[in-house]
């Protein structure tokens, strides 16, 4: 299973979600499908995408927040799972693409590559109830749909191949991305915070 395929499968659903991605391939693959104002790409500060998601989700109870994370990033902030478990944002889906690799920085194996470290087990052990571990595109799609239908914090750990886009680059300055993302949220709030299905 490739991450790009998973993101492509999710893409139509992300139209009205508040989306935060990590740096590198995940950001680029989402961007390549077509940037939207409700996508925030955290191009650095590895590990904090899910913390941003928590802050968004708890303060935007009428929105759905989707975080696209990765093994290299989440390993830098494993504490995020215990904080997520504690505050349990019901409107947040935390997808961790586990390719066992620090792909964007040269493809070195991450600690999950050995097969010993199980991110889904870490999330469960932290106290998160709904954790899915998937390895096929079909299972990923099902897990994502279940998470969308479930009104509770959901973590999906998706084993994916260590491949990424051929080219990196966005026509979007980093602060500009943040400013526009914030404005999109503010306009949604002004419009009356539509509750998404």
């Amino acid at each position: 299973m490739e991450r790009a395929g998973c993101i492509e499968m999710m893409y139509p659903e992300l139209e009205d979600k508040v989306v935060v991605t990590i740096m590198g391939a995940s950001a680029q693959e989402l961007y390549n499908l077509g940037h939207r104002e409700n996508f925030f790409y955290l191009q650095h500060a590895m590990g904090l995408a899910s913390s941003i998601g928590l802050g968004l989700a708890r303060h935007l109870p009428n929105e759905r927040v989707v975080v696209l994370d990765g093994d290299g990033s989440v390993l830098m902030n494993l504490g995020t799972f215990v904080t997520l478990a504690r505050y349990r944002p019901k409107n947040m889906i935390h997808v961790v693409f586990d390719n066992g690799s620090l792909l964007s920085t040269g493809g070195f194996d991450s600690q999950t590559a050995s097969g010993m470290t199980d991110i889904a087990a870490i999330a469960r052990g932290a106290g998160i109830e709904h954790v899915a571990a998937v390895a096929t595109t079909t299972d990923f799609g099902e897990a994502f749909v279940e998470a969308l239908e479930r009104n509770d914090l959901s973590v999906i750990v998706a084993k994916v191949a260590a491949v990424g886009p051929e080219h990196y680059g966005m026509d979007l300055h980093l602060p500009e991305n943040g400013f526009r993302f914030k404005r999109w949220i503010a306009e949604r709030k002004r419009a009356g915070q539509p509750v998404t299905a």
Partner: protein
């Protein structure tokens, strides 16, 4: 020998340097700071519990109008603060200076890189009057680290001024789209 104290050898060694009447956290000033946070319009707080901040956090926990996030490490709070900012909810971060050190990559590579304001209230441990050796290194370098990161900071020393300083820190963080720090000093936090 009178007044035998049952303490571990290491603690006994350090206790030689600590005044017999040990300091306690100021209940009154903790209340003044919390009231100042609320008066500044803050609705959301992230924190890692630490001695000087304990009474403040208890108040936050008991206040239904404050959304409190207790984090496992302070860098998480930078992410949560950014999320709150994007969501339009006024948020402040409470941390010890050592926690601030642990949050620096998030401060630089999220807050400063993306122009996300952070209003940080930092317990300024390890400086003048500090009896605990383990706090001293961090206390000594705090000011220079803040300067190196171009983070504007002020010292909060008096209960008469602290509420205004919190409001001003908040206002400046928002207008400059930058992290700012208010250092909560021993004068303010202990009695």
């Amino acid at each position: 020998m009178q007044n035998t104290r049952h303490v571990a050898p290491a603690a006994r060694y350090f206790l030689r340097f600590i005044p017999a009447a040990s300091m306690t956290v100021s209940y009154e000033n903790s209340k003044i700071i919390f009231d100042g946070i609320k008066a500044a319009g803050i609705k959301s707080l992230s924190a890692l519990p630490e001695t000087w901040l304990g009474l403040l956090l208890q108040r936050a926990e008991d206040d239904p109008d404050i959304e409190l996030f207790q984090v496992a490490k302070e860098e998480e709070a930078v992410g949560i603060a950014a999320g709150a900012y994007f969501a339009g909810t006024p948020h402040v971060l409470l941390m010890q200076n050592h926690g601030f050190f642990g949050a620096i990559n998030g401060i630089v590579s999220l807050a400063q890189l993306y122009h996300v304001p952070l209003c940080m209230l930092i317990a300024y441990r390890g400086h003048w009057g500090e009896p605990y050796p383990w706090h001293t290194r961090g206390g000594i370098v705090t000011e220079e680290v803040l300067r190196a990161l171009s983070i504007p900071f002020e010292y909060a020393r008096s209960p008469e001024r602290v509420a205004k300083q919190i409001r001003e820190a908040w206002v400046f963080s928002q207008s400059s789209l930058s992290p700012v720090a208010l250092l909560l000093t021993r004068d303010l936090m202990e009695v």
